[in-house]
Structures are given as structure tokens and as C-alpha cells.
Symmetry: D2
Subunit: 406 residues, 4 copies
Amino acid sequence: MSDRNIRLESADKRAIEDQEVEIVERKGIGHPDSICDGIAESVSRALSNLYLDRVGKVLHYNTDETQLVAGTAAPAFGGGEVIEPIYLLIVGRATKKYVKDGETLQLPVDSVALRAAREYLAENLPELDVGTDVIVDVKLGEGSGDLQDVFGEETQEVPMANDTSFGVGHAPLTETERIVHEAERALNGARYGDDHPELGQDIKIMGKREGDVIDVTVAAAMVDAYIDGMEDYIDAVEDVREFVSDLATEYTDREVNVEVNTADDYEEGSIYLTTTGTSAEQGDDGSVGRGNRANGLITPNRPMSMEATSGKNPVNHIGKIYNLLSTHIAETVVDEVDGIRDLQVRLLSQIGRPIDEPHVADAKVVTHDGVTIADIEDDVVAIMDRELADVTDITRRTIEGELSTF
Amino acid sequence: MSDRNIRLESADKRAIEDQEVEIVERKGIGHPDSICDGIAESVSRALSNLYLDRVGKVLHYNTDETQLVAGTAAPAFGGGEVIEPIYLLIVGRATKKYVKDGETLQLPVDSVALRAAREYLAENLPELDVGTDVIVDVKLGEGSGDLQDVFGEETQEVPMANDTSFGVGHAPLTETERIVHEAERALNGARYGDDHPELGQDIKIMGKREGDVIDVTVAAAMVDAYIDGMEDYIDAVEDVREFVSDLATEYTDREVNVEVNTADDYEEGSIYLTTTGTSAEQGDDGSVGRGNRANGLITPNRPMSMEATSGKNPVNHIGKIYNLLSTHIAETVVDEVDGIRDLQVRLLSQIGRPIDEPHVADAKVVTHDGVTIADIEDDVVAIMDRELADVTDITRRTIEGELSTF
Amino acid sequence: MSDRNIRLESADKRAIEDQEVEIVERKGIGHPDSICDGIAESVSRALSNLYLDRVGKVLHYNTDETQLVAGTAAPAFGGGEVIEPIYLLIVGRATKKYVKDGETLQLPVDSVALRAAREYLAENLPELDVGTDVIVDVKLGEGSGDLQDVFGEETQEVPMANDTSFGVGHAPLTETERIVHEAERALNGARYGDDHPELGQDIKIMGKREGDVIDVTVAAAMVDAYIDGMEDYIDAVEDVREFVSDLATEYTDREVNVEVNTADDYEEGSIYLTTTGTSAEQGDDGSVGRGNRANGLITPNRPMSMEATSGKNPVNHIGKIYNLLSTHIAETVVDEVDGIRDLQVRLLSQIGRPIDEPHVADAKVVTHDGVTIADIEDDVVAIMDRELADVTDITRRTIEGELSTF
Amino acid sequence: MSDRNIRLESADKRAIEDQEVEIVERKGIGHPDSICDGIAESVSRALSNLYLDRVGKVLHYNTDETQLVAGTAAPAFGGGEVIEPIYLLIVGRATKKYVKDGETLQLPVDSVALRAAREYLAENLPELDVGTDVIVDVKLGEGSGDLQDVFGEETQEVPMANDTSFGVGHAPLTETERIVHEAERALNGARYGDDHPELGQDIKIMGKREGDVIDVTVAAAMVDAYIDGMEDYIDAVEDVREFVSDLATEYTDREVNVEVNTADDYEEGSIYLTTTGTSAEQGDDGSVGRGNRANGLITPNRPMSMEATSGKNPVNHIGKIYNLLSTHIAETVVDEVDGIRDLQVRLLSQIGRPIDEPHVADAKVVTHDGVTIADIEDDVVAIMDRELADVTDITRRTIEGELSTF
């Protein structure tokens, strides 16, 4: 166990939940930055599967650089139109040829990336006409020749870290974090979205807690085809407000104030109306790694990694793996061990050593009153050790799409 | 009638049919250059209809510059795949804003162009997966502001020529021309193509007549999904050869030799196999105006216009109109007047005069033995005058897609 | 000699010079289509030289597809500016890797193409700021693997024709043709251009002869930095008119009327003023093979090849070679043999035979009065035979930039 | 003063300098992400100056999205070459037209952006041939029409916050932070770089402190033209190591271990050799906002903003302004007030209020032993108030290029 360098120590500060001011943000799946994250990650999964399928292992690639250039649209009550399509450029590196049994395989990485991106858009942005509202372009170069990395049935070994990198995860989420996260998931999901086609996918939620008052600000793109006039719009906004207000009570007893589309000016007719459900149709560009962290949130109160997780190779990109793993470990520990009010898990890799043996694996904990570090140390360390040993499961789950990266 | 400057004179040479050597070529609809022509023209029609629909008249545009960059493919018996998508760039000028009744309309020219191109591809290249085998990009700029041209219900006037340009048409087609033209149309149409999915759309036919021997050379892309092995391929090639040989007898009594895919080398396994039915998938780039002339043929024995007809504005682009009109006039005259063995009609515009009053409208005729120019002159001139007067009908038919431009 | 299939026959029609109506056009080097031709050909030369330098022979490539998308400019007396840069996309195929002595050479074709294009622009469009007025992009794919063609010291053999293609050349030029051609060359050259920086490079000249009256219409972009006001502009236009009028008298005794920038409307302030000397800065797109033929002219009265000569591989692209060679042969014959009023040379290749053995090499001649075909036949045939034997000299001269292709 | 909502409180935790483990990273100016940051910011400055120059105030724009697609290179001792150019896409929004005194001005934002980018590259990457090693493309759309923001002589007012956003700054830097930051600045500056042309600009430095041992890992691209063989290379690496080791002693008494290019494998010949001095030439893509924060460092131990500062409009983009301002305030306070061991300044905007009146301006301080919050509170609050009042000075200094954003 010592080769994992696991440490548990007191966080030596108040839990986030107990600090005076807390800020949390989540960009919904239709936000331009999240669209890029989602495409980058879906391209990554598609390439992993292509390589596993054709070669039996995941080869070198990295597709963490999708760029979105906003289009132009003319939304209108009852249904407007896209004037100039959105432009999406998929950027990255991928292995295009592989010699197997003496034969050179050509791997259709560009076509696979294009398909993955278009399918992702069709699935996640139902009001976007993938044929005419967006141009998807691809520039995948080849990387350095000596980086043909390996994952899959042929090798059961744990990969070596190829970089000094850092991942950080937290648990449990604070009330504000849960409200922000769950509200977006519910608005964009079965619980609300399925019955509310007028609500677009570009939903940005900011939560700000000062003491015991939580302000939730929602910016929600409305879809013009389902909104016949200003009254409809006002109703749609109010529906979102009520839904989020109700949902918040499931997560907190604090006072919660919800505001939706605060920048609207009904008199000027300046409202957040879109044709496609995303501001990418007009004015908002986007790129990968600029929005949510691997746990789905932006949390300036907590240490965060700058790493763009989406699109990275889940076999050997240690930054991606450690961000997902540290989050997973934090959640697992809090799930299995009682008495923890706030837990931060940090993993630091060491070049050239197996990724299940980090250079540092430290956990900082704030316990509930009456619980000491000593009370929980053995359990926490055992779980961390177990999950680190199982690191390649993170890779598997990422490839299979079970883990979200944004 | 004098203001049309119509002249009829003797061609003062042998009819093409009677010359010793004749060369004719047609690039089928799936040839990369023809794909560009087809897209440029379908974009043009879509813009004309957009303007008529929204503004009541056709505004200034020109979309005669589509560029195709070939992809990469790995065809294989039973079905291969596209490795790197084809890249298509739609280029041109279009009016994007129009002030109507004091209100500025935004015209979705980019989206309309994109839709037209994608629909054209889906319709004409059934084996091409428009979602993943091709990237369609658009760069439509705005033209000069003072060129807001007008066509439609609001104005019944004939437009003025805005350039000195030239159109030329011929009739009747020679036997070789008819064989080349009809063979491609039949192979790509209901008569053959519908029952032969193994035949791709990229068919290039060259006819060469020396005296009374006509050699027809067909290069026909085969579609791998319908071809299970070399025998299938050889059968498919032979089927085409027989079909074209039979078809040729409908148009000539001369000796006709047909060869198909002469560059094949069966021993080397070097054959014309594709995944999508077009060589654009691998190695052959394309652009507008580089292939067939407005009558669907390349005929170096006859005067030709360099003008790229496809994609040009059919209301005011005099080069496009006069090429289509001169061909139409030549065909109409030959249809209605007996005794003509070869007719060439040439129209030359004059800047600033109505387009139904060309600077020169000359017809050069070779008559059948026993027929003099004088015998037919009145009829020919009357038809020319009538058709020139009806010049805007060319515009209408082009917008409605009745006239092919390539 | 018989294996060259040379034939000489009477043209069986009047010389172009003697026909009633003649139309001739030349797009100057700064015309958007000519810019594309020039870049395509300079890229081609650069690649030929790269291959000769690194590999000792010319490898497979084809770069005949440059696409220009016009920019936006705001010209103004005394000096305006480019608002949106011109976009140039170099398209084609090129061999990127070559195994030499067991070692794989990487050939920097993209960088070389980019450099050639930028240098060409800098040299030929002095008022265009290559750094900021134009974006040059490159998409060079790899062609079919089995087409590694060969030219250079290692092989002295004549290449085989790889296609059925056709070239046609004429001599001598008619008076109208000479005036049109020479006027552009002089305006854009030392004789006029060097002392007239106010004259841009985008000069389009159309010549129309009816009987003995030649109308020359010049459209000439003026450069705003050298034109301080409307008077300057009018002077500049008048200077061009006088220069071309004078120049014309060197080539003809016919009546010549010259008009310059006829579309100008001084009252409206609508004049042909540019910042960069080319209409590509605003509104006029361009592409390869849409302008001048290999002899520098567009001559609808004469048979022309549709082949885009510029950018094609000069070693093995038979269409390029035969167009240049037929023009060269026609000029040489007329130069060396007296008594020829009009000569057309046509070369038709035969797949799989050496390119110095065309399938047909026919010359059609109109002799001066008193000269018969028999008088000149031996000489003409001997020259044609000699020049065909020397076909690879065309390749050499093209690579060295001695032959213009447009 | 109360309307600035300034608070000072104890950080309630150890100073970063006193924590057990500390990680710091800086991507040098030649790193692909930093290249994008640098271009985005230089484009931003150029647009600000364009607007000030032409309109007298800064109009709406945002250019924080440059995307870099890596090229291909073949470095070699003594001088290699770029095979495939780097592709750079400048993305953003900018106001292209402005009505001034009844006249519509066209603003050359695309050309200005292109020029700024090319000049930035030429200045900061001396070994990159801007003409042929890189393609710079531009896609600047127009934003929402109602966002014509204002800064400059005409208005002296403080702008309103248009978003809820957050900035955070720290001071003083820890020893590890200073070493990492200063080492890159010195290596890329006059102190080392000027005499060491063999050192490229792509330098990535990671510092890791555990207790009192600081490990500094440098990845430094070497430039092949100045390195004649492996011995030269080894010397160059050793020079960097020694220089950084020496420099570190200026900032700490702790043990410092420096390693340079640890991934090299001399036996395999696998070293960090480049032609242009940046890994963007081969394999490493880049984009804006993915590297250094506004203070030039990535510091996972400290709260960071996700905001991409580079390229944002410095007049009205509250996230940019508050990140720069909070850093500036922290530095100023530490400079002017004694007794502070660690200071964090956080600014949170409130939509619709002047940006000098933040919703929250809180400072968390760790004092030196013997100093209490009360001792310094008045001074700190006074400085914060003063600097907040002077917020537009941040805008001015950013436009004038005095403040670095990455």
C-alpha cells in the first residue's frame, strides 16, 4: 500500500458549506463551451471504440480541441430561422495507420470523428437541424510517431504516467452545488425537458450563497417554434423559475431565490429567444475545457484543475484519468464512510511510474463534529488504495460513456 | 426585327458530321467537376427561389465557384469505407439584406445554400453518406452594393446586358455527340442505373470518330458494396460495354467500338472500384465550369464558350443566358425547319441594351444538298426573332430547374 | 515518321482574319481567375523543382485547383484599405513521402506550395499586402499510390500518355488577337506599368472585330493610393486609352476604337477604383482554368481545349503538354515556313503510347493566295515531326518557367 | 466606501508557502496554448486601438477563441524544415460597421486582426517563418446588435457590469511561484534568450514543492539550426539547467532540484528538437484560456477563475477586468502594507451596477506572526477602495499592452 503514497490529513479550514460566500456555476449541455466538450468527448469515445474494434487496443489520439464559431439566426415567435450556420472545427491528433500482422490498416479517423460529432449534435440539440444549421469540419493531424499507446485485451498492465499532472476531486457536493447541478440535469432531462420543448438546451445556472441565502440565476434559451408570443414566453420563463424553486427545496432548507433570464427587457422586446435552443446560433463562440470541470461544475471556492478533460485519451492521458478518478474516489469515500463533512482528494502523477502508483495521493478532510481523523483514517485509506488499484476501470467506463467529463 | 441584328449565313465549311476527325466528351453527374456544376446550379436555383419567395424578385448573386477537394477512401469488394471525407466549399456572392417596406430583411443565403448542396448530393449520389462522407462549407460574400438586380412579378421589363459576353449553340447533335450524351444519361438514369446499383455515378465518356468508325471509351466507377469479387466486377464492366454498344446502334449505322475502364489491370488488381460511386472520394478534385458546356458536352470541334454557366444568376448574367438561349434557338430552328445539316447560333451582348436585343445574333448554317440558304432564311430568322423576344423564358425555366446547365 | 500520325490538310474555311466577326479576350494577370492560374502554375513549378532537387525526378502531383474567394475593400482617393482579406485555397494532390535508398523522405509540399503562392502574389500584385490583405490556405491530398511518375536525369525515356486527351494550337495570331494580347502585356509590363503605378494589375481586354473595325474594350482597375481625386482618375483612364490606341497601330491598319472602363459613371461617383489593383479585393471570386487558354487568349472563333493547363504536372499530364506543344508547333511552323495565313495544329493522345507518338497530329492550314498545300507540306510535316520528337523540352521549359500557361 | 462592499477577513488556513505540498506551472510564450493567448490578446489590443482611432471609443468585440492546429515538421541537427504549416484560426465577434455623424463607417476588423496576429508571431517566435510556416485564418462574426459598448474620451463614466462574474488575485507569490515565473521570463528574455538562440520559446516549467524541497522540471524546445549534433544538444540542455538552478537561489534558500527535458532518450535519439522553437510545429494543438491564468501561472493550490482572460474586451468584460484588477489589488496591498504573508482578493460583480461597485470584494489574509487583522484592516480596505475606484485604469493599461493576461 505504501507505493501509492496515500495521505489523509485535516483540511485545516472550514468546509465549503460553512464558508460565508460560495459561488457555483454550471453550463448546460447546449452552452457553446459544453457543446464543444460534448463533441470532443464523443469523438474521443468513437475513436477509442474504433481502435478497440480494428486493432484490439486504443492507439494514440487526443481530440480535446473542438472550436465552435457562432452562426447568425433570426428567431421569431412561432419559428424563426438560422441565417448563417454555426461552424464547428474538430481539432486533434489521431493515429491514422497501423501495421497489424504485416498489413497496414488505414483507420478512418476523420470520418468516424465527423459521424460522432454529427450524431452527438442530433441527439443533444433536437432543435438544431444538423444538415443545414451547422457546418462540421475536421482537422485531425498525426501525432508523434513514438506514441503508439496501448490499452485493451492484449495488455493487462497498468499504463505508465507520461506526464506530471494533477487531478482533484471533492465530495460531498454542497447544497448550492447540488441545486445548480441537479437543476440543469432536470431541466435538460426527462423530468422537465421532455414535456417542455420550448426550453432550449443552452441553460447556464449560477448559484451564489451568502450565509444562508442562496441566489440561483438561470439563463435559459427558449425555442421560438414553441412560443407564439410574449405571453407564452413569460409563461415559459415562469415555469422554469417555479420548477427550479421547487427542486431546490429538495436539497436545502435555506432560503432560495431563483431568477430566470434577468437580462430580458420585455418592453424593448429584448428576450432570450432562439431558433435552435442554443446561443451558438448567434454570437456565442465556444471551445473545449472552458466550462465545467470533470465533476460538471465550476467551483471557484475549491481547487480546480485547468486540464480540459473532454476529448483526451482515457487510456494514457493522466490529467484526464486523475481528474475523473479523484472525483470518483472522493464520492466513494463519502458514500462508504460516515462522519465526513468535506473531502478533497488530490492525485499527482510521477512520470515513468504506473498510474496506479501516484507520486502523491492526498486527501484533506473536514469531519463532522465529534469525528476525528483517526476514527476514519483506516477506512478512507483502504478505499483510496482499492480505487487506485482499479484505475483502469475509469478508462473502461469513460470509453463506454458511463462517466461524464463535463 | 432589325433591332435584334439577326444574320444568317453559310457556315462556309463542312458540317461536323462530315469532318474527318471528331472528338466529344461528357463528364457524368458523379464526376467531381460535374458535382461542382450541379451544386453550383442547385444553389443558384435555391437562391433565386428564396429571393422570389421573400422579396418578389431575384436579387444579385453569383454562385459559380464551388470547389471540391477529394477525400480518401478504402474501397473493398463487398463494401469499403471513406477514410477522409470529401471537402466541398461553396463560394460566391449573394445579397444578404434587403430593405422592404422600410424593414430590413435578413436573407438566410448561407443556410439555403448549404441545404441545397446537401440535398443535391443526397439525391444524385445515393451511395455517398452526406452526413459523414463529405464536409460542405460555405463562403458567400456580399457583392457590390449597387447591383441589386431585379426579376419577377414587379417588373415585366427585359433586363439590360451588364457585360459584353458571348453565347454559342449548335444543332443538331452529331451521331457521336448523341451517343456520348445519351449513353451517360441512360447509364445514370432509369434505363440502366436503376437496375444496376453497382454502377456509380462517376461516368466519363469520350467519343472519337475517325471517318466512319466511332470509338467510345467509358470510364465508369463501380460501387464496392454491390461487387463481391473480381468476377462480379468483370461482369459489371461487360454489362456496361454491352449496354452502350446496343444503345449506340440507335443513333448510328457506323461501326462503333466500345471500351470500358481501359486502365484496369486485373492481374495487378488495379480496377476502378469505389465506395461512393465517385472518384471524388479519392484523388480527383473538382470545380465549376471545368467540364461540360451548357449543352452537356465538350466539343473541341465546335466553337465553345469558356463561360461557367452553372451557378450564375439566370436573371442578369448575360453569359449564362446567351449560352442557354443560343443552344435553345439552335435546337428549335432545327426542329422546326427542314433541310439543315448543321447550325451554329451565336449571340453577342451589348452593354446597356436590353438582352433581347443582342449586338450580334448570327447563325451559320450547313444545308442539306439541294437546300439553299434562301429557302430557309425567312423561317430561321423568324424563329430566332421569336425566341429572342422570349428570352426571359430561359430565366424562368432555369429557375424552375427545367434546363440543365452542364 | 509514320508513327507520329502527322497529317496536313486544308482548313476548308476562311482564315479567322478574314471572317466577318471575331471576338477575343484576355484576362490580365491581376484578374481573379488569372491570379488562380498564376498561383497554380507557380505552385506546380515549385513542386517540380522540389522533387527534382530532393529525389532527382518529378513525382506525381496536380495542383490545378486554386480557389479564390473575394475580400471586401473600401477604396478611397489617396488610399483606402482592405476590410476583409481575400481567401485563397490551394487545392491538389502531391506525393508527400518517397522511399529513397531505403529511407523515407518527407517532402514539404504544403510549405513549398504556400511559399510559392505567397511569393507569386508579392511579385505580381505589388499593391497587395501579402501579410494582411490575403489569407492563403492549403489542402493538398495524396493521390493514388500507383502514380509515382518519373521525369529527370534518371530516366531519359519519353513518358507514356496516361489519358486520352487533346491539345490545340494556332498561328499566327490575328491582328485583333495580337492587339488584345500585347496591350495587356504592355500595360502590365515595363513599357507602361512601371511608370504608371496608378494602373492596377487587374486588366481585362476584349477585342471585337466586325469587318475592318476593331473595338477594344479595356476594364482596368486603378489603384487609389496614386489617385488623389476624380480628375486624376479621368486622366489615368485617358492615359490607358491613348496608350492602347497607339499600340494598336503597330499591329493593324484597320480602324481601332478603344474604350476604357465603360461602366464608370462619374456623376454617380461609380468608378473602377481599388486599393490593391485587383477586383479580387471586392466581389470577384476566381478559380483555375476559367480564363485564358494556354496561348494567353480566349478565342471563341477558334477550337479551344477546356483543359485547365495551369497547375498540371508538366511531366505526365498529356492535356497540358499537348496544349503547350500544339501552340509551340503552330508558332514554329509559321515562323519557319512562308505562305501560311492560318494554321491550326491538333494533337490527340493515345493511352499507353509514348507521348511523342500521338494518335492524331493534324494540321489544318489556310495558305496565302498562290501557295498550295503541296508547296509547304514537306516542310510543315518535318517541323511537326521534329518538335514532337522534342516533346520533353516542353516539360523542361515549363518547369523552368519559360512557358506561360495562361 | 460602503458601496464597494469591501470585506477583510482571516484566511482561516495556512499560507500556501506553509502548506506541505505545492504545485505551480507556467507555459512559456511559445507553448501552443500561450501562442493562442498571445494572439487573442494582441488582436484584442489592435481592435481596441482601431475603435479608439476611428470612432473615439471601444465598440463591442470579443476575440478570446483562437484555435491552433499543429503542423508537421522534420527537425534535424543544423536545420530542418516545416513540412505542413501550423493552422491558426482567429475566432470571435467584432463590430464591423458604425454609424458616425450619419455616415456608416466600415471597420477593417478582419484585416486588423490578421495583421496583429502575424506581427505577434513575427515578434515572439523569431524562428517561425510567418510567411510559410503558418496559415492564419480569421472568422470574426458580428455579435448582438444591442451591444455597442462604449469606452473613451466621449464617456468618462464607469461601465456597468453586464454579467455576474468573478475574479481572484493573490500576493505575494510563493518562492516556488516566483522561481517558475521568473525562470520562464528570463529564459525567454534578455537575460538568457538573447544570447542563446538555440533555446526555443516553447518552455514549460513545473514547480513542485514538498516541504522544503523544490523540484523544478523544465521542458524546453531546442532550435535545430543552432544545434549541430547531440553534444551541442546536451550542452544546451545543461546550460538551461544551470541557469535555472542559479536563478532559483535568488528566490529561495530551500533545496532546489532542476531537471530539463526529462523525457529525452539520448540512446534512442529521442530529444526535444524543433525547427521553429515551438511544439506547435508537430503534434501539439492549442487554444485560448487553457494555460496560464491572468497572473501568468497555473496554481492548483489556490482558487482560480476559469475565465479566459486573453482576447476579451477590456472595457466591458467584467471577468477579464476583475481577474486583472484583483491580482493588481493583491499585489498593491502587499506592496504597501507590511505584515502580510498571504493575501487573496476576490471580486464578484453584480449585473447592472457600475463595475467599481462590486457585489462582493473580499480579501482573505494570513498575517505574519504578531500581526493582527485589526493592525492592517484600515490600510488594506483603503487601498482596495482606491484601486476599485480606479478600475478603468486597468482597461487603459490593458489596451496599451502594459498588463499581461497570461
